[in-house]
Symmetry: C2
Amino acid sequence: MNIGAAAELTSLPAKTIRYYEEIDLINPARGDNGYRHYNEQDVNLLRFVQRARSLGFSIEQCRNLLSLYSDKDRASADVKKLAEHKISEIDQKIEELQSLRTTLKNLADQCHGDHRPDCPILDGLAENNS
Amino acid sequence: MNIGAAAELTSLPAKTIRYYEEIDLINPARGDNGYRHYNEQDVNLLRFVQRARSLGFSIEQCRNLLSLYSDKDRASADVKKLAEHKISEIDQKIEELQSLRTTLKNLADQCHGDHRPDCPILDGLAENNS
DNA sequence: GCTTGACCTTCCTGTTGGTGGAAGGAATAG
DNA sequence: CTATTCCTTCCACCAACAGGAAGGTCAAGC
């Protein structure tokens, strides 16, 4: 099938699929007319990447997962390690965001939010300490 | 003071400070030798941006905040609105990360994590549904 | 006066993960 | 035969800087 159909099936933009080929992630066959030709396996791999990306794996991690995926002799421990590493990354990110939210909320709560020009948020941002 | 001293005082890399000038965010004076010269006010603005950035505001939002900051007639409501928008952005991001974490954790928990070649994580990624 | 080293300048490239668009060839429908 | 759609490549751009090369400047020490 052509790139358009593959895009449809994977919910990936054609541009992105071409990009994945450019960075040597998923290489389809080519027809005589130069068109990319995707088979079922290609589409599966694309979907695999699409899912992994949406779970927050970077392209390089996807490349890693793909090679583990096609390597029949790999240990599932390798994959589990990658997933757990990712989970702790996510945990850290969540914590950062929560502390950030707290700070911002404190500032916003102190702001009376009317048309008076003094604003604790800006004052908070402008303060020398913290 | 020169850029190095300003960098020291604001905990921003000199590279970043130059970049902020390039994008017309904070424009210092220049000495006869072409060196950038930062006064107290410049340093305050840089610190302001540094703090806003660390709270997750984008450069464009910082530009907005800066203009509100120097506009004596602005209503604090404008600023509060920006802050609250940011908070809801953060909330959404946190939710996404949490759902992502759940999915990933489920997959990882099903993985026995030894050297057997079957791996629920990869299988989960390769599945056609969800 | 000279050298050394730290600091400054601009310019160019690369990062991550794509997106947008132009120019032109190929397939298909009427 | 033409119109439209799909495909191709290539080039540029986004955030928000970081790294490094090549060269100018300044202050200290001898």
